[in-house]
């Protein structure tokens, strides 16, 4: 039976060599910084999902589709607004504007969806909320496919024209990192780290420094009690579902520039699955857990990618397998996640 697995097995001399290479400063810096860049992306795509589950107990299966819509809409705005001669500064400014516009737009769309579709089925079992949001995701994916192909854009693979609106200094290796650690890391990852920190800070402030954030945190524990204290929890549900949708779409705008993703209809399921992994490992509904899980998954991703790229492991699916294995192991070892409430799921 060993023959069946032969190419996943590591040669002994290679292994010793790999350990040696791993402990070189440039390698460690590379794995760590690229890992944090990926972690930032994972956090951005997962945080909306965790907010929605935390308050409403709904595992939103349309989350990936919202990100996909964000990626395409962002792509359209960028492609229309920019010309090939636009400078790097213009591109960054436009990107920030696009993020704001899409966040506002998709927050409104998400709120409308909550009122129109999700609200009528709150008192059914959680399965129906999963099914409904999954159906919404399917419809959005097909609409994106139809619209993209009617415009002569291939829905699969990535829409490169949109991805190429990234300024040159972000798609090229970062010079600062090159100078400091002597290793090549795309400028995009530095950009993602900065954006991830900003976003995490903003969400944290919203949750901990606003009255609405307080209602959301209280509602995550016991929505009925919050309602009985005079807070309109239904309205909070609408707002949070809207925010979750907006955050998913913002994640999509970032993926538009991400060298490993880019706008395509495949984002629907890919984002959904990876966001699930992060959110489940961190503990469904926990802000802190999502943050830490994103870092774990990001670094695992960059480490296994490095293992494959250097030829130490000749198995191309290693990062993906590792990430889903993390999900399975996390659920076996600690079902409530790193920071989940013990009896969560009993919503």
């Amino acid at each position: 039976m060993m023959g069946l697995l032969s190419h996943a097995v590591v040669d002994a001399p290679l292994f010793a060599d790999a350990v040696g290479r791993f402990f070189q400063p440039d390698t460690l810096a590379r794995i760590l910084i690229e890992g944090l860049g990926k972690a930032a992306i994972y956090f951005i795509i997962a945080i909306g999902l965790t907010l929605v589950f935390g308050l409403m107990g709904i595992l939103n299966f349309a989350h990936g589709a919202f990100a996909m819509v964000g990626a395409y809409l962002g792509g359209i705005l960028m492609v229309v607004a920019l010309s090939s001669t636009s400078g790097a500064f213009t591109r960054i400014v436009f990107f920030i504007v696009v993020v704001a516009v899409i966040f506002a737009l998709m927050t409104a769309v998400g709120s409308a969806l909550e009122i129109g579709l999700v609200r009528p089925i709150y008192d059914r079992t959680p399965m129906y909320q999963i099914l409904l949001t999954f159906g919404v995701g399917l419809i959005l994916e097909e609409l994106a496919r139809i619209i993209a192909s009617s415009q002569g854009i291939q829905p699969e693979p990535t829409w490169t024209a949109a991805r190429d609106t990234i300024p040159g200094f972000l798609s090229a290796p970062s010079e600062i990192i090159q100078g400091l650690f002597g290793t090549n890391i795309r400028g995009f990852y530095m950009f993602a780290i900065a954006a991830g920190i900003l976003l995490a800070g903003a969400v944290w402030l919203f949750l901990n420094r606003t009255l609405y954030g307080l209602y959301i945190r209280a509602g995550s524990e016991d929505p009925e009690m919050v309602e009985a204290l005079g807070v309109d929890v239904r309205k909070a549900f609408t707002v949070v579902f809207g925010l979750g949708t907006g955050l998913a779409a913002v994640g999509g705008v970032f993926l538009m520039w991400d060298p490993n993703w880019g706008p395509s209809v495949m984002l629907n399921l890919d984002v959904l699955l990876y966001a699930f992994v992060v959110v489940v490992i961190g503990g469904l509904g926990s802000f802190k857990g999502t943050l830490i899980a994103a870092v774990i998954v990001g670094i695992a991703d960059s480490f296994t990618t490095w293992l494959f790229n250097t030829g130490i492991v000749a198995f191309s699916g290693l990062p993906e397998v590792t990430i889903f294995l993390l999900l399975v192991i996390a659920l076996i070892v600690r079902p409530q996640g790193l920071y989940g409430v013990e009896e969560v799921g009993g919503h």
Binding site: L59, P120, G135, I146, G317, L327, V328
Partner: protein, 472 residues
């Protein structure tokens, strides 16, 4: 005198007596599905002297017989209808044959319905009856599919290349059973969303591994196939050639002038019957389990697991057993799929979307009703056929039959032809998504479940709660 089937005291065999006390049993649902005809016939025979067990058995299975008869007659019927010649009635040509061709599902879709239907029934067996959503069900489908193809290529150690398909199919299904026990051993400590996530996680791990597994196929993302040395899969009694038929899109057996009856069977129709037989046997096997005391415990777990445990059932092993059985039949479905298509690829077997298909048809057909997913699958494949871009789809039919003037008719720069091309041609997934959402919102019990509710009178009980929900 009208005897409602609900009051029928002898509708189930003695061994199934406990099934009668449970409101959610499948056989009764299907029987109600046959509407007034069934009842009428039942009444007539009841009044007669014939109480022989054979007659009784046939009466009990009337709905099954009707459904099976429909699907047995379907190939001939649809071929006859599609074969109606075009007629020139002066002002225009009327071509009913082309109309039926466009709207009746063609054989490849009917065959897809069979294995999707079986897969969805197996999904419903665990998800609908015990309430544990198996989001990684595609893994078992994939194991069944990969096992038979790899065995046919001599890639499974200990299984010689010429081993009959029926045997490798059962061995593969047994392996799926064991894998399910292994997954279940760690997963059944979790419930709800968490169970769904861990089974999804396991399936995705397998999917990613298979995609890179160079041993199974030279191009692992394409997957292995029944090419070259691999024997054509046959369904029948192993080692008896005269009682076996080869199945497959390309290499299946065809029969001219069958038994001297003047009936010709093409290779697709032959495959349809052979695969249909396996699906039918699998259905009866699962139905047997549902109606046995074991099945009643499954339902008890869904309704209230703590109570089932308090009564003294070891619910863990019941869940394990149900999961194993459902994986077994999922693998059978996968094997049939691979055999007919002649290959297996990771994206068509192990991927999450395969489970999603089963989920969709289960909801449309009726979750928690064993036959429901099968009807959901029929609905699904009919829609796929009608909206298909191929010959026999609605879009080519409209393009050919509608007059050019209408097709070219132009509203704000968009012609009717454009509408057909973008909104009809190959758009099954879009409409399926819309229909699925509408079912979730308005028909949560699915086709069969709703029919059961209507005829079972439980609507009366549910109505007040229903109204109250909207009043708030």
């Amino acid at each position: 005198m009208a005897i409602s089937p609900v009051d029928d005291p002898v509708s189930d065999g003695g061994a199934d007596a406990s099934a009668e006390t449970e409101p959610v049993t499948d056989k009764r649902e299907t029987r109600k599905g046959v509407s007034a005809d069934g009842d009428e016939q039942q009444d007539r025979t009841r009044d007669g002297a014939d109480r022989h067990w054979v007659g009784q058995y046939l009466r009990d299975h009337l709905s099954h017989i009707a459904v099976v008869a429909f699907f047995v007659l379907y190939p001939g019927l649809s071929a006859a209808l599609a074969g109606i010649p075009a007629l020139d009635i002066g002002i225009a040509t009327v071509d009913p044959g082309a109309f039926f061709d466009a709207f009746l599902p063609s054989m490849p879709f009917m065959i897809a319905m069979l294995f999707l239907g079986l897969f969805a029934m197996s999904f419903d067996f665990i998800s609908g009856y015990t309430g544990y959503l198996s989001f990684g069900h595609a893994a078992f489908y994939g194991i069944g599919a990969y096992f038979v193809v790899m065995a046919a290529n001599g890639l499974i150690p200990g299984i010689p290349q010429g081993t009959p398909f029926v045997l490798t199919m059962v061995i593969g299904a047994t392996i799926a059973f064991l894998v399910a026990l292994a997954i279940g051993a760690v997963s059944f400590r979790l419930t709800g969303v968490y169970f769904a996530m861990i089974t999804l996680g396991f399936a995705q791990v397998m999917y990613e591994l298979i995609r890179s597994w160079g041993y199974a196929a030279t191009n692992p993302t394409e997957g292995p196939s029944f090419a070259g040395e691999a024997p054509t899969p046959e369904i029948g009694v192993p080692f008896v050639d005269s009682l076996s038929v080869a199945i497959g899109r390309l290499g299946g057996d065809s029969f001219d002038n069958l038994l001297g009856l003047g009936i010709d069977l093409s290779s697709t129709v032959t495959s349809y019957y052979a695969i249909g037989l396996v699906v039918l046997l699998s259905y009866f096997a699962m139905q047997r389990v549902i109606h046995s005391p074991f099945g009643q415990v499954m339902i008890a777990i869904r309704e209230n697991e703590e109570r089932a445990e308090a009564i003294g059932y070891n619910v863990f092993w019941y869940k394990m057993g149900a999961f194993g059985i459902s994986a077994f039949f999922a693998a059978i479905a996968g094997a049939l799929f691979a055999a007919f298509r002649g290959s297996a690829s990771p994206d068509d077997t192990f991927y999450f979307l395969v489970t999603a298909d089963a989920l969709i048809v289960t909801i449309i057909g009726g979750i928690g009703t064993l036959a429901g997913p099968f009807f959901g699958s029929f609905f699904f494949e009919s829609l796929e056929d009608i909206l298909s871009s191929q010959q026999g789809g609605l879009a080519p039919y409209l393009r050919e039959t509608l007059p050019d003037g209408l097709l070219g008719a132009d509203v704000a720069g968009i012609t009717f032809l454009d509408v057909i091309n973008t909104a009809v041609d190959g758009r099954a997934p879009l409409y399926l998504g819309v229909i699925f959402v509408l079912f979730v919102l308005f028909v949560p019990n699915g086709i069969l479940g709703t029919v059961r509710d209507r005829l079972g009178g439980t609507v009366a009980n549910r109505l007040p709660a229903h109204l109250e929900r909207y009043r708030r």
